[in-house]
Symmetry: C2
Subunit: 362 residues, 2 copies
């Protein structure tokens, strides 16, 4: 079968170049006589992969050596726990902004460890915008946000990122390295790799060294950021193959011109889709315009049968995984860095055709 | 370069058939038009991979539907924490048998949560054997062992597995499915996949359902075995590619004739190496014969320069990663299920040659 367009929210599509590079060298990495999957994590050949991926990611984020980059396991969900375990010892307080399911889950997990104050939320309006951020009390240990909300299709634009008097922490799982944020605003960011940075099984954590020193002492080893940092994420066996793919993704992103260039492409890709939606007779997007995600474009017809017909027809056109999250319904096109413009245009073409054929139904 | 023999302790060598299968279908899985790395974990096509891997592993372990099999992240190390978090609430007690670094680490992590009693240990003799197990107090929440000690090269034979009046738990990271243990003796076993079951980044946990019901309530989600079990290890995004490779490994193992057949091959492979060592003039293995590992064969000359010369020469013969663990020194040949007899024979040939050339040095 020829390659389809995969609009999955994650694990998501990868650049064909990355897949082909991995495929070509899968049975013999760099003339080692071994697959990259078989390399000991204590070997020089693997350490080069590991360190190169780390350096490229820091370079793409424009973070200097006042930051540490970690490769951890357990997904963003494990960070929901690890962060409060490290910073809310003695039941101290942190501020969270609730912009949807993922922040709601982070809030629930943090409550196991400390006092959580939800200082802003768009829940009453079904998370259709990024809420106004009130003045932030300086007594909080940190302020926690999720920069892009995969399920609801909202994001913080550069202008809306909080100017926080306390350390700013962010879940960037679904928009890391997709737009040109000033990353030095953050004391800690994390992202599961399976959307913009490769495959599932590795979580990237970038942490300011000064903030790292403030993490709790005497934690179980796997939750101790300081130990992972001291050991260069090699205290225990890291997910080597997933890190290798993240390295290939970082290299691909640099070849695209880095974050500035990919941001331009992302603005153009999402712009075309939102323009179409705003002018459509049957498809709608209900997100506040200035807060719309560049990565996850949600849309719906308002008619469940029509949504179902749309999804069924999409696969025949080679357009896959457009079903919206079960908690929202409708449709969602996840158009991460690796989604080519052709994929977006093919989707719009199909939407146009569907609209023509179903005008009377709307 | 042609394929080398990789004696790494893990990540370790994989069967060439598994690598080639993964390579052939890496750009298009099962005519989906997508790479297996890109499949949504909520798609039918991925769920089939997931469930098939799970069923094959349970079949290989000869465990029935009174057991649940989980795919988790974070390596064996995360299980060192998750187990006591689930079973030592209220500072209750568990018994641990200390057979080397990995049990020592599990003991340290468990102390964060409850009372740990080391009821047997071979530490005073540098872990060169499996200690006698005393009668076990019925008040312990569980008895914890590590069935194969990667660093020291010892293992529990079938006969030495404890008959425990309390639930028996085991770290099987380095010998899972390598010999025909009666798996129903265990209430919980776990194993990082990167030695006998694929690549790093996924941890297999098999847990008796009856024991699962006794796990703690109200834990952070990622440490709650019950949630992972209820959601079929799909509560959050699992390490999909690593699970796919584990599925290929399980299939390969079934094609080898299952655990009975692979055990025969492992006994033969390790037997040849130990026979050579026991008759060698310069190489020694100091492990009690009945407790010798089938997976990790340690050996040394007693002369550091000679060890170094041996290791240097080995790579020229296409024999890689034979260096012993830094805490033990000398050499170690890890010969997991996927190591072919040819690899063991090539190693013995080189050892013979080295012995001839260095007799006077020993």
């Amino acid at each position: 079968m020829e390659r389809v367009y995969n609009f999955s929210a994650g694990p998501a599509n990868l650049p064909l170049e990355v897949i082909e590079k991995a495929q070509n060298e899968l049975s013999d990495f760099n003339d080692s006589g071994m697959s990259v999957m078989e390399l000991s994590h204590r070997s020089k050949i693997y350490e080069d992969i590991h360190n190169e991926a780390k350096e490229k990611l820091l370079k793409l984020m424009k973070l200097g050596d006042d930051y540490e980059l970690l490769f951890l396991q357990g997904g963003a969900y494990t960070q929901f726990v690890t962060i409060p375990m490290n910073y809310l010892e003695d039941k101290s307080s942190a501020a969270y902004i609730n912009t949807g399911s993922w922040t709601a889950k982070a809030i629930e997990e943090a409550k196991f460890f400390g006092n959580v104050e939800v200082i802003a939320s768009s829940e009453k309006d079904h998370f259709t915008y990024i809420p106004e951020i009130p003045e932030i009390n300086k007594d909080y240990k940190y302020l926690y946000i999720c920069t892009n909300n995969t399920i609801y299709g909202t994001r913080y634009t550069k202008d809306k990122l909080p100017n926080s008097p306390v350390p700013l922490l962010a879940d960037m799982s679904s928009n890391i390295l997709s737009e040109n944020y000033d990353m030095t605003k953050f004391d800690l960011i994390f992202a599961g790799a399976q959307k913009n940075l490769g495959i599932s099984g590795v979580t990237i954590v970038a942490i300011k060294k000064d903030f790292l020193t403030k993490s709790a002492e005497n934690l179980p080893t796997m939750f101790d950021y300081k130990i992972h940092a001291e050991k260069n994420s090699l205290y225990n066996t890291p997910p080597t193959f997933a890190i290798y793919i993240t390295g290939l993704m970082a290299k691909w992103l640099i070849n695209q011109g880095g974050v500035e260039e990919i941001e331009k492409m992302n603005i153009e890709k999402a712009g075309k889709l939102y323009d179409f939606l705003d002018n459509s007779k049957i498809f709608k997007n209900n997100i506040k315009k200035e807060d719309r995600s560049l990565m996850n474009v949600i849309f719906f017809t308002g008619n469940k049968d029509l949504d179902a017909a749309f999804l069924k027809g999409a696969e025949k056109e080679g357009l896959f995984n457009l079903k919206g999250h079960r908690s929202v319904g409708g449709m969602r096109a996840s158009i991460y860095n690796a989604m080519p413009m052709d994929g977006v245009e093919s989707l719009i073409d199909y939407m146009k055709k569907f609209e023509m054929e179903n005008k009377q139904e709307a």
